[in-house]
């Protein structure tokens, strides 16, 4: 196999297509799904619904898989979901130290930082230092809960709803919710505050 990964991937694809084992259009469809259809906007809808609808939030925290399925999300790498709630006294952070497990149906594919050795190694021993690198300085009295995705459960952080957004519509709320906030690596803030992710 060539040493350049691009050539290696191409060689492997053409070999498998030539052998009749792979339908290149299926590859296109898979890529298209994760580039254009499945991403953090899905998770944002779940979060916004939980913020607007207390009964939904209760269901989400009790049985996330079922509650998320209500909005039509689930499947590959989100078969078994757990939602954990951030509060003024509890901050949740999700990691997968052993590989890079991530809730695809709600957040899409994981970003490079989530897959990095730096994040995988440090999130469990120095979560406050990690959060600081994301610009989040937590007060000592806030409890940090790190969720290591060692099994087939996938975690969604339900961020705190920012002050002054009670009157926004579910759609407007969803537009505020960032990927990082749903991993626990950020907070949801109003647009003026500006937050990447």
């Amino acid at each position: 196999m060539p040493s350049d990964p691009a050539l290696r991937a191409q060689a492997l694809e053409s070999l498998l297509v030539e052998k009749g084992l792979v339908d290149p259009e299926a590859l296109d469809a898979l890529v298209d799904a994760y580039e254009h259809r499945i991403g953090p906007h899905n998770g944002a809808r779940v979060v916004a619904r939980a913020w607007k609808d207390p009964a939904y939030k209760t269901r989400l925290l009790a049985d996330a898989t079922a509650a998320i399925a209500e909005l039509g999300f689930g499947g590959l790498q989100g078969e078994h979901m757990v939602a954990v709630e951030n509060t003024p006294t509890v901050h949740n952070l999700v990691v997968c130290t052993l590989c890079s497990c991530y809730p695809y149906p709600l957040l899409g594919l994981p970003p490079v930082w989530y897959k990095s050795e730096a994040y995988r190694s440090r999130a469990v021993i120095d979560p406050r230092g990690v959060l600081r690198e994301f610009g989040l300085e937590l007060p000592a009295e806030t409890q940090v809960r790190v969720w290591d995705s060692t099994a087939e459960l996938r975690y969604l952080v339900l961020p705190e709803q920012p002050e002054g957004t009670r009157d926004l519509s579910e759609e407007q709320l969803a537009a505020l919710v960032t990927r990082d906030a749903m991993v626990g690596a950020g907070r949801v803030s109003l647009p003026s505050a500006g937050e990447g992710g």
Partner: protein
């Protein structure tokens, strides 16, 4: 196995570097590698645990040198070889050397995943929970100790919790057991628990009291404590 993949609690892996407006894939080959892994996985000749373990088997120095999707490519190539989908010569040449059937008589000659089936494939996923009447050995609030297991094979018991005490936070239900499934020794379903470990129990005095790490662990990883 105690590989470098089991890196929870390590120092010295450099800074975390979030990338604003990060694309889903940074290179076209990453997208193709991701899709190839999924499309070949659809044959069902291996399972997700075997697939993870194959990537863990990449020697430590190489594992750390590779990017995420390079590991996926390396793992896929190894699985294809091992399960008779391709030969070593074909991998080297990047093209078919002989008919697939010649290698493995049972080998399919049509794709397992068609473009039209992709939405259903994604929506279905691959649930790892299993119906079971087995009673859970532990209950919420119970104190447990993660066993000190150091198998050379696949495990999802990270080193940093071994020997440490925690509290059962929730009982997730019964799931396929990776330690056997990765080696094609059966699904051997077991209860999985979310176990709360205090940061001070994991890392010692001086760490933030109250902070905790929740780790999903199979029943046979745990002893009552």
């Amino acid at each position: 196995m105690n590989g470098v993949h089991d890196m929870g609690g390590m120092h010295g892996m450099g800074p975390i570097q979030p990338e604003p407006h990060e694309p889903v894939f940074h290179h076209r080959w990453e997208a193709r590698a991701f899709a190839l892994v999924r499309a070949m996985g659809a044959f069902g000749r291996w399972n997700i645990d075997a697939s993870r373990h194959q990537r863990e088997l990449i020697p430590g120095p190489e594992y750390l040198r590779m990017t995420y999707y390079e590991r996926w490519l390396a793992g896929l190539a190894a699985l294809l070889l091992r399960h008779g989908f391709v030969s070593r010569e074909e991998l080297a040449a990047g093209k078919s050397v002989m008919a697939c059937e010649a290698l493995a008589p049972q080998m399919p000659a049509t794709p397992a995943l068609r473009a039209a089936d992709v939405p259903a494939f994604i929506a279905r996923g691959s649930p790892a929970a299993r119906a079971s009447n087995a009673p859970a050995r532990f209950e919420q609030g119970q104190r447990v100790r993660a066993r000190n297991l150091n198998p050379v094979g696949h495990t999802r018991l990270p080193r940093y919790v071994r020997g440490k005490c925690g509290i059962i936070d929730r009982v997730h239900g019964v799931f396929v057991f990776p330690d056997t499934n990765a080696h094609f020794q059966g699904e051997c379903p077991q209860h999985v628990y979310s176990v709360l470990f205090e940061a001070q129990e994991l890392w010692g005095e001086g760490f933030a009291s109250g902070d905790a790490v929740y780790v999903d662990l199979w029943e046979s990883y745990l002893d009552a404590a």
